[in-house]
Each structure stands twice: as C-alpha cells, then as structure tokens.
Subunit: 139 residues, 2 copies
DNA sequence: GCTAACATTGCAATAGCATTGCATCGTCAT
DNA sequence: ATGACGATGCAATGCTATTGCAATGTTAGC
C-alpha cells in the first residue's frame, strides 16, 4: 500500500512527495544495497541529481544509511533500526560479495566491542567483510 | 640509511629506483596514513601519476596497504605484517579521527573473528573506527 | 480563488579522485 | 652498441559527488 510507504516517510519527518514515495518503494524492494547509479537505472526516467538529494534527505532523517564498500560508489540501504538523523548506529556488518559484486546488510551480525588503545574514543564503526555470499557459494 | 630503504624494496621484489626510494623514505616518516594528495604535497615537485603508480606498485608487492576511510580519497600506509601481493591480511583496525581528520593504523588492535550467517565466506575484512584519537582527546 | 512563502525538482556546471594511453627515457643484458 | 623492458611524465578521460540557479509544485493565509 502506498499509505504504508507514506506513513514511513511522515514518521521520519520527511515530506512525502511523489518522487520520494517512488524511491522508498523501490528501496524496500531491494535485496542488496544499491548505488545511485543502480537507483537511476532501476527507476523510470528520473533525474539523477534529484535521486541523489532524495537519498541524502533519507539519510539525514535516518531512513537509510550509506555504505562505503570500497568500490568507490556509495551504496544505500534502508535502516532496520530506529535510527534518527543524529544517531546512525548501524552497528551491523556489511558484506560485499566478490563474485556477484553486491553489497548486503547483515542486520543480525553485529560489530563486536573493540577495545582501542588508551585515549582513543569511538564514535562510529564500519565493518565491511568481503568474500562470497550465500547465493554465490558453490556446493 | 638509504641502503636500508633499498633493501626493503628489493626484499619485496621492487626495482629500487630513485623515485621509489624517495617515496618509501617519505612513507616511513609518516605517522598517519596519507592520501595521494598528501604524498604529492609532501614530496618535492613530482608527477602525480608517477606517485599514483608507485603506490600501486607498492601495494601489489605487499609493501603498503590502501585504506578506504570514507573520506573519498584512498589513504596508504606501510604494511607492518609480512604481506605479499596476494595476501594483504592487514587485519588490524584503522582509526579515523573526526577532529584532526587523520587516519591511523592500529596494528595492535586486531579485527576479531566474526561469525557470519550460513554459507557466507570471508575473504577480507575492513574495519574503520571513527572517533577522537589520542592526540586530539582533551583532558 | 489568489498570492506569498517555502520546499522540491530538474538542468547545467564543476570539483576531485582514479585511471589509462602514449611517447620518452633510463637501465640492463647480450 | 642495441634491443628489450621497465619506469617516468604528460595529456586526456571517466566516474562519482556536489553546488548554483531557475522552474515548478505545494501549502497557508487572506
């Protein structure tokens, strides 16, 4: 239902415009994290910059989080947690498959506590694991 | 001693040219990981592309490793481990300071074992922690 | 219904990093 | 010497991210 999507936007204090409804709808259908390019290709003919800003807005409001998987292109995925703009503690692991080149959130695999050297203070953590995903795993 | 630097190159099967000696010497003097830009600025007047390729060569041969800290610019730092080109298992944590914007290797802080979901297979891991480094920590 | 204020969108343009092609030059072995 | 090969330097390009600005839509007040 469109109503559901609309509600999710409003809950995050995002003005539910047509474009945003479409983007959010598209994002919910994704299995893997997608780049701006993927989004542009996946959606109908839309303006790249608008999509870019839509993602930025979503990120600021805590609806999606961005992932730097080392491919050079930032990927985006919906937040599972109750993030808000300030607290993006997506402390789950991200997995990049070297075979299918997709980036997945592993929401149930959390980043463990790391004890840093004296006087280093953690604010964010970002763990990318690269390898072979379950789908590409042969045998 | 230049001899020492030269030996380190030869040990890694890298032809010790003047440029490479300079770059490696410069790298050893760094406290933090540096970007191509930093390298270019820090060295005398040198060609950016040559520096780029020098770093690539060093990376291939296992002398340095590259770090994606999310700033958009790839950073490089000397490997501490006995890496070779194939096995870049720099399983230590990298720390990005939000205050001084520097990226540090924490060679003694290793990435712990992570148990992934079934049929996911790890090949590399990359953990970036962002926060405040020991130098910038006030108090 | 009209209008002013504001948010959103779309186009153009730009910045910055990464990367390749090609020509030149140096080095080393025969 | 010369030929092969690696290294260097310049030019050019691709790609992602990002901003400026104008046009457009949307909302609230009258």
């Amino acid at each position: 239902m469109t109503k559901d999507i609309e509600h999710r936007l409003k809950n995050k204090d995002i003005n539910p415009t047509a474009m945003r409804l479409l983007v959010l709808d598209f994002l919910t259908k994704q299995v893997a994290a997608i780049s701006l390019n993927d989004l542009e290709k996946g959606m109908g003919p839309s303006d790249r910059i608008t999509l870019y800003r839509t993602l930025k807005t979503f990120e600021e409001k805590g609806l999606v989080h961005s992932i730097e998987d080392g491919t050079g292109a930032t990927k985006y995925a919906l937040c599972e947690d109750n993030c808000d703009g300030d607290h993006h503690h997506d402390l789950h692991v991200h997995f990049y498959c070297n075979t299918c080149k997709e980036t997945f959130c592993l929401p149930n695999t959390k980043i463990p506590e790391i004890s840093l050297p004296k006087r280093f203070q953690t604010e964010e953590m970002n763990l990318i694991i690269k390898g072979i995903c379950d789908q590409c795993h042969s045998g």
